[in-house]
């Protein structure tokens, strides 16, 4: 059952004339090394099914609106081991990327149908319809919208019977680090929902490691 993301913060005011940085805020819960776990609902008309999913953030380059990491699906029926994929993300920052995908067989209509599934998107809809959200100021908005596209299988061959042809529309909550997503692939079941929560790997608090490239 879809979980509604509840947030007390009101969306920041949108402005078409802001000359400062309008990119979403940096968030420690979405930094390298952070992990998330949850499920992806892959139910079809024939049967109810959900896979357990773990995600780890491996790279983050806010200047280029780039994020990447791995996704591990745990109880995939046709696989003997957990299936790990590497994905790359586009952060909707109005500078490098807008809400309109413009590729991966996603039309602006497909984009809107998916983004509007996130309650936190509704205050942004009217502006997105005008210009894809280019003039939105997301710098104080406590949600980060992204697209995650799986690039390759890490531990299984391409003949594993699984596909990574589609991509995820993703909404991240800066408040609690929860992630909601919808998988989009014209050839797969529509609106497969991904729900993840920030994890702390057996600790009773938050831990943050980091690397720096030279």
């Amino acid at each position: 059952m879809p979980v509604r993301v509840t947030e007390s913060s009101t969306p920041s005011q949108v402005s078409g004339t802001n000359s400062g940085d309008t990119s979403p805020p940096a968030c420690t819960l979405l930094s390298v090394g952070q992990t998330f776990s949850g499920t992806q609902n892959v139910s079809s008309l024939q049967k109810e099914e959900a896979w357990r999913v773990n995600v780890r953030i491996q790279g983050c380059d806010l200047e280029h609106g780039y994020l990447c990491g791995t996704m591990e699906a745990l109880n995939v029926p046709m696989a003997d081991t957990p299936v790990v994929t590497f994905w790359e993300g586009e952060i909707v920052d109005t500078k490098n990327y807008t809400f309109y995908t413009g590729k991966w067989e996603a039309s602006p209509e497909d984009d809107k149908r998916h983004w509007t599934k996130f309650p936190s998107f509704s205050p942004l809809l009217s502006q997105v319809e005008v210009d894809g959200g280019k003039s939105l100021d997301l710098s104080n908005y406590p949600y980060i919208f992204m697209r995650w596209k799986e690039q390759y299988f890490v531990n299984v061959g391409t003949d594993c019977g699984l596909t990574i042809a589609g991509f995820y529309y993703v909404c991240f909550s800066c408040s609690d680090g929860s992630i909601s997503g919808f998988y989009y692939d014209p050839n797969s079941s529509p609106f497969q929902k991904l729900e993840l929560k920030s994890t702390n790997e057996g600790r009773s608090g938050y831990s943050f490691s980091s690397y720096e490239l030279q």
């Binding site: 913060s9 805020p25 940096a26 968030c27 420690t28 390298v32 090394g33 780890r56 491996q58 790279g59 380059d61 780039y66 990447c68 791995t70 590497f86 790359e88 710098s139 104080n140 406590p142 690039q151 390759y152 800066c174 408040s175 702390n200 790997e201 057996g202 600790r203 009773s204 608090g205 938050y206 831990s207 943050f208 490691s209 980091s210 690397y211 720096e212 490239l213 030279q214």
Partner: protein
């Protein structure tokens, strides 16, 4: 076919002839010395060792006295011409020769002789001085003195090519400060240089381009005056010269335009000029001589830090072209180094460039360059590797963690040149981020142990870079690797590095601890080893942190410790309150009031962990934090300008309300 050998007099024999009483013998000896040393470093050195330079400088000095007494006799002028020419040859492209000429006291005499009435003398003297002014050892010319500026103007106004060229060389070598650049502009020098650009000979144009670049370097004010209407269309003259038929002129014009663009980005915005510069510099790579050697350096200064230019260069097939040159092999070390550095700049920011680099398999050639005999080439290969390994996508695939690269890189950790060591550590720092299970390859190659050894280096840059690499190595590493690093490092070494005199070392050591104690909860025990040496060092360092970055890493280390069990949290609490500074205030309040949002974030996260509602000691800790004024400080931050801080503050306040605070 065998040829007859010509018996050249030996250096010692020539040297004795320089003291001959016979003027003709002496002049012939001077000419012979000059001829023997032209373009021959070995010969220059052997004459230098015999003391030839003081002897020649002595003849020059004696002849000057003769000029004063005798006025313009032919022999005297011959001595002057030949001795000046010989001194010029000693100085040409040979710093030891320049030093010997200066030590022999010839420099002021040469300057005086520029006023000699004989044209041949002036010409020879001006040439000799130009040779001296091509070296970094040349005496600095003080433009700020009025009489010197007047003399310089007189040189530039000279009809003689060698003399005006000397004026330009003096500027190129001596103009260093913005004040000097402005003084030259105010004295009308740029107008003169511009006229040499437009109407001068080849050598005058080249000398003028070099001088102009020197006067423009990092000085937008002078550039905007020069490019303004006052002087005419000077930029278009330089742009025209970038298309000149002579390669050296093209290179110098490009370098001048690059200096202008780097200092004043609003000039030369036209995409056509940018593309043209890229193409010209890539074509100049085909020049077999010095121009081709210098072209990649000019290319680097054009594209460094500029994504738009890197994109244009990629479209102009720059990477293919550099690849082609390296593949040909047997490059001059200067050119080899330049090409590797140009590739480094190409791959510094854009993933598309790195993909091209990897698809052409340039990586294997760069790996070969790691073992080159020339230190500059080895360092450049490391810098190139450092740029390419910024590709997170390829790091994630474990693409770089292989023995072809890691083994030669680890060998460079012990390179005699510190700059090679630091560059090798820089590349290693990226490669060891590796997200696959291949990190053990680095251990097997002896890399980890070497890094620990380098963390004890006398050079602070080596210590800090070794720690940087270790920090990245233990990021998300498994317990076994982390335990290996810790037992090799030891608690006492790590705590002394946290307290290192150098702030960059302190920062990296704290960041290493932060990563070591992340992951499995048992790893937190590292900071309690040897009676809590590390934890104590962190506390002391945070109390006197000299920059925000040290506070950030230290606070995240404490935050990670506080994410463990009750004992861990209590230990952090104890540390926060035993390390009271001035006014009996914990550093926590100071950090919460910092202008650095990352430091505020790290500090609030630590408080989040300490007041986690599920832990039994939280109410007591909250009480202590409240009494120390930390909670009220946090309450003041509910509208912090940084969203991340604001949200964590709300978490703390939410947790404190759970314990009845309001």
């Amino acid at each position: 076919m065998p040829s007859a050998t010509v018996n050249k007099p030996r250096p010692s024999e020539l040297l004795s002839r320089l003291t001959s009483a016979e003027p003709e013998v002496k002049v012939r000896a001077l000419r012979e010395v000059k001829n023997q040393i032209i373009g021959n470093r070995t010969k220059k050195l052997s004459f230098l060792k015999l003391g030839a330079v003081p002897a020649v400088a002595g003849i020059l000095a004696d002849s000057i006295d003769d000029v004063t007494e005798n006025n313009n006799c032919n022999n005297t002028n011959n001595f002057l011409v030949q001795s000046a020419a010989a001194l010029g040859s000693f100085a040409c492209g040979f710093d030891a020769g320049v030093q010997a000429v200066l030590d022999a006291g010839a420099f002021p005499n040469l300057l005086r002789l520029l006023a000699n009435p004989n044209e041949k003398v002036v010409d020879a003297v001006a040439r000799a001085l130009r040779m001296i002014y091509q070296s970094k050892l040349a005496p600095k010319y003080d433009f700020l003195q009025q009489k010197n500026m007047e003399f310089l103007i007189s040189l530039l106004n000279s009809e003689k090519e060698t003399v005006s060229g000397l004026g330009a060389s003096i500027i190129t070598r001596s103009c260093e400060t913005n004040l000097e650049q402005k003084a030259l502009f105010d004295a009308g020098i740029l107008r003169k240089l511009n006229s040499l650009l437009e109407g001068g000979s080849l050598s005058q144009r080249d000398a003028s381009l070099e001088s102009l670049a020197t006067v423009f370097r990092n000085n937008p004010e002078v550039i905007s005056k020069f490019a303004g209407p006052e002087i005419g269309r000077p930029l278009s003259s330089i742009i025209d010269l970038a298309k000149d038929r002579y390669p050296r002129t093209r290179l110098l014009a490009c370098m001048c335009l690059i200096v202008i663009r780097n200092a004043s980005p609003h000039f030369l915005q036209d995409i056509g000029i940018k593309t043209k510069l890229i193409h010209i510099l890539l074509e100049l790579l085909d020049d077999p001589g010095q121009v081709g050697d210098e072209a990649p350096f000019a290319f680097s200064s054009l594209i460094a830090q500029k994504e738009d230019l890197q994109k244009l260069a990629l479209e102009a097939n720059a990477i293919d072209k550099f690849h082609h040159h390296i593949k040909k092999g047997s490059l001059h070390p200067r050119r080899y180094e330049g090409i590797l550095l140009a590739l480094a700049d190409m791959c510094s920011k854009l993933e598309s460039c790195r993909s091209k680099f990897l698809s052409l398999q340039v990586l294997n050639l760069v790996a070969d360059a790691l073992t080159d005999y020339n230190a500059g080439v080895r360092a450049a290969a490391c810098i190139c590797l450092k740029s390419v390994t910024r590709s997170i996508k390829n790091l994630s695939a474990g693409y770089f963690m292989n023995e072809t690269i890691v083994i030669p890189l680890v060998q460079l950790f012990l390179d005699p040149s510190t700059s090679v060591q630091v560059a090798a550590l820089g590349a290693t720092s990226n490669i060891v981020v590796d997200f696959t299970t291949r990190k053990s390859i680095f251990v097997q190659c002896g890399g980890m142990k070497q890094l620990v050894q380098l963390a004890k280096s006398m050079e602070s840059s080596v210590r800090s870079n070794a720690l940087w690499a270790l920090k990245n190595f233990v990021f998300q590493a498994d317990n076994r690797l982390k335990e290996g690093v810790f037992s090799e490092l030891t608690a006492s070494l790590l705590s002394s590095l946290i307290r290192d005199p150098e702030p960059s070392v302190q920062e990296q050591a704290l960041a290493l601890v932060r990563n070591l104690v992340d992951g499995c909860i048992n790893l937190i025990e590292f900071v309690f080893a040897e009676d809590g040496l590390i934890l104590g060092a962190i506390g002391r360092q945070l109390q006197c942190a000299s920059k925000a970055e040290i506070g950030i890493q230290g606070m995240y280390a404490l935050c990670n410790v506080a994410s463990g069990n009750e004992f861990h949290r209590e230990s952090v609490m104890q540390l926060l309150f035993t390390q009271m500074g001035d006014k009996n205030q914990s550093f926590v309040v100071k950090f919460l009031q910092s202008n650095d949002s990352q430091l505020r974030t790290a500090t609030v996260w630590t408080i989040v962990n300490l007041t986690c509602p599920s832990s039994p000691g939280a109410p007591c800790r909250l009480e202590k934090l409240r009494n120390a004024g930390i909670v009220s400080q946090i309450k003041n931050m509910v509208n912090d300008p940084c969203v991340d801080v604001k949200l964590r503050v709300r978490t703390v306040l939410g947790q404190s309300m759970a314990f009845g605070d309001n």
